[in-house]
């Protein structure tokens, strides 16, 4: 890490890197945020974070149907809003993804990883002035894990059997051992509310750096700085305003006319144009989400592994990277995990485009005639183009793919997880375990490749309860290889998150956790007029 930072420092001094890039990369190399800032200061005389100003964000992904109750958050606007007014027990490290303390100071598992003790901070106040108590934490987690709950985190918390306060600490008991519990508690639904939000789930009273002052669903949210914030290393702007802008051109226009400081979800096709604008900076953050084509392993003709392999060899990943995401992404290897996950597998051979091998496996599969690939623009941006590109790639191997375009509306209920071969997108999951248990466990509701292997399930349970990281990593590697060679997932690219900022916005932290600096963007950046 030190070598890398030295290298970055040199690059910066010769002007090959911007300050922002330096901070981002140094953090990627493992430096903490403040350390990276300090390093930068020593090498380029940069200013400290500046307080004050009115920060305006123009974000895609809000609707008039949004609600303030954290249990219901699904849109990116509410994801950011929640991170702005509330805190979770645990946060994740922006570059390693490891759990770091937040409202929980520290934690300790029992030897079998079944019982976890969390020490809760005692110096934290809610926005209404009340001190945060362990009881509030217990009530929050109970509300989200209750069977009658509508919380988006209900599935994550399903293995919890007991939540209690014991001697001022939080005690969580699990049905089955899970070494990832702290990471699960960093989920953005699990914002700690007074009495768990049972009195009024939609009251945005939290412990976060900003207090919500106005909420118009799908239109605009405003915040003012929480003067009693328990942390001093965040919340630099005096006030924050989020304007919901679902139109890509409107976002770009608002940013280039200086009306907002940051926008999200830039179209990869227009990044080149945006980079030419003088007052605008484009930021790409590698993520864990991916674009993919899914085959059902239990449905003919895809129940034949040779046919699946043929299709996996018949896709040109490099071309997909270039043409579908404009180069802003990384190549996938047909298993749903990349190096942004903790304990990611290493040394698995990269599968490449090989029409000969594809033709060989296709012949061996004994299948003849075309296969139907269903796609729609809502599967992922550029999914229709990607399907046609795939069709052209496969043609060279003598495989005929019929691309069938489906309506955007209802794609996720009528096509995805229903049809045997379709385009799909997956967002980030906090851990490898959650990634696999969401859609590769035999009994998973969203097993969208119908990958049902008892031996795989066994490995997954084994990894979940393994506290030794080296052993865990090895199990995850085995699992990845299984999915890669026998699964129904064709994964051409992991897409980057693309945001753009005005040059007066500083301190953007690239966070592998999720888009928009894992939702913390409003409290991590500052304005330099």
């Amino acid at each position: 890490m030190t070598d890398e930072i030295n290298f970055l420092q040199r690059r910066m001094m010769i002007g090959a890197m911007s300050r922002r890039d330096f901070l981002g990369r140094a953090m990627a190399a493992g430096a903490t945020f403040s350390a990276a800032s300090a390093l930068f200061a020593s090498s380029a005389n940069a200013q400290e974070p500046k307080k004050g100003g009115h920060l305006r964000l123009g974000l895609k992904g809000g609707a008039s149907t949004d609600s303030l109750d954290p249990a219901t958050y699904t849109s990116s606007v509410m994801f950011v809003a929640g991170r702005t007014w509330g805190d979770t027990l645990v946060e994740t490290h922006p570059t390693t993804g490891a759990p770091v303390p937040s409202l929980a100071e520290s934690w300790e598992p029992s030897a079998d990883a079944l019982v976890w003790t969390f020490k809760i901070r005692k110096d934290v106040k809610f926005h209404n002035g009340d001190a945060m108590k362990v009881e509030d934490v217990v009530a929050t987690l109970k509300r989200h894990s209750d069977e009658a709950s509508k919380s988006g985190a209900l599935g994550l918390l399903s293995s919890i059997t007991g939540i209690e306060s014991k001697g001022g600490d939080l005690l969580i008991t699990l049905k089955e051992a899970n070494a990832d519990l702290p990471l699960i508690l960093s989920d953005y639904h699990l914002l700690i509310q007074p009495n768990g939000g049972l009195d009024d789930p939609s009251a945005p009273i939290g412990t976060g750096p900003y207090k919500l002052t106005n909420f118009q669903p799908g239109v605009r949210l405003t915040f003012e700085r929480n003067k009693d914030d328990w942390r001093s290393d965040r919340g630099y702007a005096d006030s924050v305003e989020i304007i919901v802008m679902n139109d890509a051109t409107a976002r770009v226009a608002a940013l280039s006319s200086g009306q907002v400081h940051l926008i999200n979800s830039i179209d990869a096709k227009t990044v080149g144009l945006m980079k030419r604008a003088p007052k605008v900076e484009v930021l790409n953050t590698p993520g864990k989400g991916f674009y993919s084509f899914l085959m059902h392993c239990d449905t003919a003709p895809f129940d034949n592994n040779d046919l699946r392999l043929a299709l996996k060899y018949a896709i040109d990943r490099e071309a997909m990277l270039k043409q579908v995401v404009g180069g802003y992404g990384t190549i996938g290897n047909d298993y749903p995990v990349n190096e942004n996950y903790a304990l990611a597998p290493e040394g698995i051979e990269q599968r490449t485009y090989d029409p000969d091998k594809a033709a060989f496996h296709f012949k061996k599969s004994g299948h003849s005639g075309p296969v139907v690939l269903r796609t729609a623009e809502s599967a992922f941006p550029g999914a229709v183009d990607a399907a046609v590109l795939f069709q052209q790639n496969a043609k060279k191997a003598g495989i005929q793919i019929d691309v069938k375009r489906e309506p955007d509306d209802g794609y996720w209920s009528n096509v995805w997880n229903v049809q045997p071969f379709c385009a799909s997108y997956w967002g980030a999951r906090p851990t490898q375990d959650l990634r696999y248990s969401t859609s590769y466990a035999s009994n998973a509701e969203w097993n969208d490749t119908r990958f049902k292997r008892p031996d795989f399930d066994k490995l997954m349970l084994q990894a979940r309860s393994e506290l030794d990281e080296t052993k865990r990593k090895e199990i995850y590697r085995q699992m990845a290889v299984m999915v890669r060679d026998e699964g129904g997932l064709i994964l051409p690219v992991f897409n980057d998150f693309l945001n753009a900022t005005s040059k007066s916005l500083k301190g953007f932290v690239h966070d592998i956790g999720n888009d928009l600096s894992n939702g913390y963007v409003a409290s991590r950046v500052w304005l330099d007029a």
């Binding site: 149907t65 699904t74 069977e147 599935g155 106005n214 239109v219 006319s257 009528n414």
Partner: protein, 335 residues
């Protein structure tokens, strides 16, 4: 000209015969109410028939069977459709559109705000575009087949041919990004001063004016030209009246009926059909509200929006009908 026989107060004549105009209007009103009921059934049935389900769509990728079941139970979606229809209708008649499934707020309250925004924008677009369109139409007739007419025609055709989002983007590019004289985005919110609101809606209003202008202008022109060939206009010309005076005082009143109809259609469009402009300018109107609701299958909101849109259309068309009847002596005094 034929005059209708004078109505005298003879006993034994029916009320409907004594006040034919009033009766026509009452008929129209009753018809509108029946139509509105029919529409309410169609909307409710149509929304029910939509494929997709609120609970799964709303929870998205975080849906678990348990969470879905919980939401369904809470909303009582399993009750029979007729029960829900009459309950809904009862609410609507008292001005209560129920509660949004997605964010549990009163639909009536949210719609009041959104509809207010839509009407605000539509009002300013209308008070600029309607007089402008009618005025330009008259000017075009005055200079018929000469340069001003051609310019007005070509420019308005060009404006109507460009899609509204493109007109919007052009205005944003020129007035907001390059010169910075206009405010963007056009988001209006509570607590904004009236003047701020006005400057916020400048660009969307301009876009809407450009989009609806041509239609009304061309209709005015065509209707007036139609009348201009009548013998009484020739008489007026022979009497030596000025061109503009003939058009404004003698021709225009007789060309009113088609113009009123087109204006009504465009007004309805300005209120209910501008979702694209709302999205482009980030304006929180009814259209965006409804689209948001449709995409997560938030049925109470979709139904309420559909119902209000239908009511606005019916109301404006009814008004246009009545005005057209009043403007036309032959319809005013039916035999």
């Amino acid at each position: 000209m034929i005059h209708a026989p004078k109505v005298s107060f003879r006993p034994g004549r029916k009320l409907t015969q004594r006040f034919p105009l009033l009766w026509t209007i009452v008929q129209r009103l009753l018809l509108s109410i029946v139509l509105l009921f029919a529409v309410s059934i169609v909307i409710f049935g149509g929304v029910e028939a939509l494929p997709g389900d609120f609970a799964t769509t709303y929870l998205g990728q975080s849906a678990t069977p348990q969470a879905i079941a919980n939401i369904r139970a809470e909303l009582g979606i399993d009750r029979p459709i007729t029960t829900r229809y009459f309950q809904w209708l009862g609410g609507v008649l008292t001005g209560d559109f129920g509660m949004s499934w997605a964010n549990r707020n009163s639909v009536t309250e949210q719609i009041a705000q959104r509809l207010g925004n839509s009407l605000f924008l539509a009002f300013f677009a209308a008070i600029i575009s309607v007089p402008l369109a009618v005025g330009l139409g008259m000017v075009a007739v005055l200079f018929r087949n000469r340069l001003p007419d051609r310019i007005i025609n070509v420019a308005s055709l060009a404006a109507i041919s460009l899609p509204e989002f493109f007109v919007g983007y052009l205005l944003i590019m020129w007035f907001s990004v390059q010169t910075g004289i206009a405010v963007f985005p056009a988001t209006v919110y509570e607590g904004m001063s009236f003047l701020d609101r006005l400057s916020a809606i400048a660009l969307p209003t301009a876009t809407l004016v450009l989009v609806v202008l041509a239609h009304m202008m061309r209709m005015t022109r065509a209707a007036i030209i139609n009348v201009m060939s009548s013998p009484y206009i020739e008489t007026a010309e022979l009497k030596g009246l000025g061109g503009l005076r003939i058009i404004a005082k003698h021709a225009a009143p007789n060309a009113l009926a088609p113009v009123i109809n087109v204006v009504a259609l465009n007004l309805a469009y300005l209120i209910v059909g501008v979702v694209v402009v709302e999205v482009v300018f980030v304006y929180p109107g009814m259209g965006q509200y409804m689209v948001d609701a449709v995409s997560v299958r938030d049925m109470p909101v979709v139904q309420a929006c559909g119902f209000i849109f239908a009511a606005i259309y019916i109301f404006l068309n009814m008004t246009a009908d009545i005005l057209a009847i009043i403007a036309n002596p032959r319809l005013r005094h039916p035999r």
